[in-house]
């Protein structure tokens, strides 16, 4: 079990510890998904949970994303708090219909509760190709009624997952699988919930604002460090939750820096960057010295082969140069 006391916690550990603490705390929380039981899930996040909580609360399913998501909705309606694991975020496409037409609208239509947490490992840079590397936040961000949480650090993964499970709404909790074992945070790991809808200013700066989330945070911080050497002061904002979005923190920063870049690994076209840029230009128009730039994946699927994938998803040099251009133009 990834949940024992440790000196450092990986992003993956943090997810596991958060799940464990919520299951201990609330008998109504249960895990459901493909291979989550004895196997502990494709990425081993739920390793050991079956032994600790038994098959009543750690439920292996047939391969049936539509049905399992609908099942979670029904269980949530009458008082349980399901945590659904999608094996890869790519397969959430098979649950698009119930998420949009059952989960998202039900509370608005009826006033009934719908506390479903959907965990899904997403993202690129693992050479996993077009159908194991998708960023799926834009599939759902247009649909009113779903929260979309995308932590970029291990500590946030824990605090935000706890908040997601306690939230009374459907929450899409997108775990960046590239970070699972690449990122650690030292003990102790806080198990305080982190409010959904609050951005975090990771590095303060004065010349340009970079708005990002999930793995983009680390790319932005790396770029900020490099640009600091050239005397360029970058403010990095980690949105942490893309829906609802902490727009005020973004606007305040842009009013200060007058320049903004949005960074994400999803494709550019109608990615979250479009909404963020559209809002910034409206709310901070008279403060802007430059148009808002987007750094995002090319508008293609994510290729498998390393040179191809590297050409599609944002790379460090492109990130640094785009921020530099916006900051100095």
């Amino acid at each position: 079990m990834q949940t024992e006391a440790k000196d450092t916690y990986t992003y993956l550990d943090a997810v596991a510890v958060a799940l464990d603490s919520e299951m201990e705390r609330d008998e109504n929380v249960f895990l459901i998904g493909e291979d989550v039981g004895q196997f502990g899930g494709a990425f081993k996040v739920t390793s050991g949970f079956l032994d600790k909580y038994g098959p009543r609360r750690v439920v292996d399913t047939p391969i049936a994303e539509t049905g399992v998501t609908g099942l979670a909705a029904g269980a949530a309606l009458v008082g349980l708090r399901p945590v659904v694991e999608f094996q890869f975020a790519d397969f959430i496409s098979c649950a698009f219909d119930p998420i949009v037409n059952v989960l998202s609208r039900h509370h608005w239509r009826t006033g009934d509760p719908m506390p479903v947490t959907m965990r899904a490992p997403f993202g690129s840079r693992l050479r996993a190709g077009p159908t194991h590397s998708q960023s799926v936040e834009s599939y759902f961000a247009h649909v009113p009624g779903i929260k979309i949480v995308m932590p970029g650090t291990a500590a946030d993964a824990a605090g935000l997952l706890i908040a997601s499970i306690r939230d009374n709404n459907p929450v899409l909790f997108l775990e960046n699988k590239y970070l699972y074992r690449r990122l650690t945070t030292p003990a102790p790991l806080s198990l305080e919930p982190i409010e959904i809808g609050r951005a975090h200013v990771v590095t303060e700066g004065t010349d340009v604002t970079v708005v990002t989330y999930s793995a983009g945070v680390h790319q932005a911080v790396d770029a900020a460090e490099q640009l600091a050497g050239d005397g360029i002061s970058v403010e990095v904002i980690d949105l942490r939750t893309v829906v609802p979005m902490d727009a005020e923190t973004v606007f305040a920063s842009v009013r200060k820096t007058s320049r903004a870049v949005v960074l994400h690994e999803a494709a550019e076209h109608l990615g979250m960057g479009a909404e963020i840029a559209a809002q910034i230009q409206r709310e901070a128009f008279w403060h802007l010295d430059q148009p808002v730039e987007r750094i995002a994946a090319r508008n293609t699927p994510v290729p498998t082969s390393p040179p191809l994938e590297d050409a599609v998803v944002p790379q460090p040099a492109e990130i640094v140069e785009t921020i530099r251009k916006v900051a100095t133009a």
């Binding site: 049936a64 049905g67 099942l71 949530a76 009458v78």
Partner: protein, 371 residues
């Protein structure tokens, strides 16, 4: 020209006559022993289920339910015609026996996940008729206050799920309600309803399969009314019946006559009590005919006249009334009174619905998220 070729992917239109009338293929094609070995019961070709040993009070409750449901349907048909409604009305004519029997077989605390033809079930569960009307009128007193409309009047406080239009999205949701009951060790059963056409979809298959493997306390009812919008059974499935689809999920199936309120009651009771006792899901197919269009705007001229005639004889309300009179449970006079009461009840409901206000849009952006 293509139209003359005979390498048609579908059979030509004339041959696409509906199958699955009450001389059902499974009864003729598949021997009874085979069905028994598979745990499929087919009572649909039997004579009407016996009234013997049923209490008069119980029979009268069913009868009143049938009459009220019919009175309500009649009122909705005329309200559609007089322009009271925002759009169309999805008639449940000839489904009354299924709705009423299902509710009679269920306990109040059992969960119900209906679709669009289950108006009688909602009425039996206690939704005031004016609320159902209001749902078709966009009025503030409707169960969703006008946010949703038409058939979306399920009320969770009555243990009823309010489904979206997507059919049968209620099936997976029902497995979840059943899951929760089992999780908590409650002995509530969940009943989910869908039509013949709905069985072709993802949600049917995934839900029934999941419920079967997890042995959840849920009954999957298929109201086989022989059409899905304009689509006859032969275009919908090639299987011998809907009950027999249970074989694919390793669970029992029951096929019954959906115009015989007692037959449906018996089938549902068997399935519900099995589920309550831990015996897992059952598929219950109740065969009837959709006597109106898909909704009132649809003249349904694609339905074969023979079929309409044949089934016209099988009015579930009239059939049961006659049997009760024959069995001396009811007199013609008493029946008349029940019918007149029901009519007044529906007329009264219309008055309330007509007088009700439209909703105030001020808070329409609220409630996207629960607190």
């Amino acid at each position: 020209m293509a139209a003359e070729q005979d390498s048609g992917v579908n059979p030509p239109p004339d041959s696409r006559t509906p199958t699955g009338t009450l001389a059902p293929p499974i009864a003729t094609d598949i021997p009874a022993e085979v069905l028994t070995a598979l745990d499929i019961t087919d009572t649909s070709a039997n004579p009407p289920a016996s009234l013997a040993g049923r209490e008069a009070e119980f029979l009268m409750k069913l009868y009143e339910g049938l009459v009220r449901t019919r009175a309500f349907e009649d009122r909705m048909h005329s309200m559609y015609r007089s322009g009271d409604l925002l759009g169309s009305y999805y008639s449940g004519n000839w489904h009354e026996a299924i709705s009423v029997a299902t509710m009679a077989a269920m306990r109040d605390e059992d969960y119900f996940a209906p679709l669009h033809r289950d108006v009688g079930a909602h009425l039996m569960r206690g939704v005031p008729p004016e609320q159902v009307m209001a749902s078709f009128m966009g009025k503030a007193i409707g169960p969703t206050g006008g946010r949703d409309g038409t058939l979306h009047y399920g009320r969770l406080d009555l243990n009823t799920y309010n489904p979206p239009s997507h059919i049968p999205a209620n099936y997976p949701v029902a497995t979840g309600m059943a899951f929760a009951a089992k999780y908590r060790g409650e002995d509530r059963v969940t009943v989910a309803v869908c039509g013949d056409g709905s069985t072709s979809r993802a949600d049917f298959h995934e839900a029934v399969n999941i419920a079967a493997t997890m042995q959840l306390p849920v009954v999957f009812q298929v109201q086989n009314n022989q059409y899905a919008y304009s689509t006859p059974l032969s275009v919908q499935t090639r299987s011998a019946s809907f009950a027999i689809k249970a074989v694919a999920y390793g669970i029992p199936g029951i096929k019954c006559d959906g115009t015989d309120v007692i037959a449906v009651y018996d089938a549902m009771t068997e399935a519900i009590e099995r589920a309550r006792a831990g015996g897992g899901p059952t598929i219950v197919e109740a065969v009837t005919m959709r006597m109106h269009g898909h909704a009132e705007h649809d003249p349904a001229d694609y339905v074969l006249p023979e079929l309409k005639d044949e089934w016209g004889e099988r009015d579930p309300v009239a059939l049961f009334e006659n049997r009760l009179i024959e069995a001396d449970v009811l007199t013609a006079e008493a029946a008349g009174r029940v019918r007149e009461d029901a009519k007044q009840w529906a007329i009264e409901a219309r008055k309330i619905a007509l007088a009700a206000p439209m909703p105030d849009p001020a808070d329409i952006e609220e409630g996207i998220y629960a607190d």
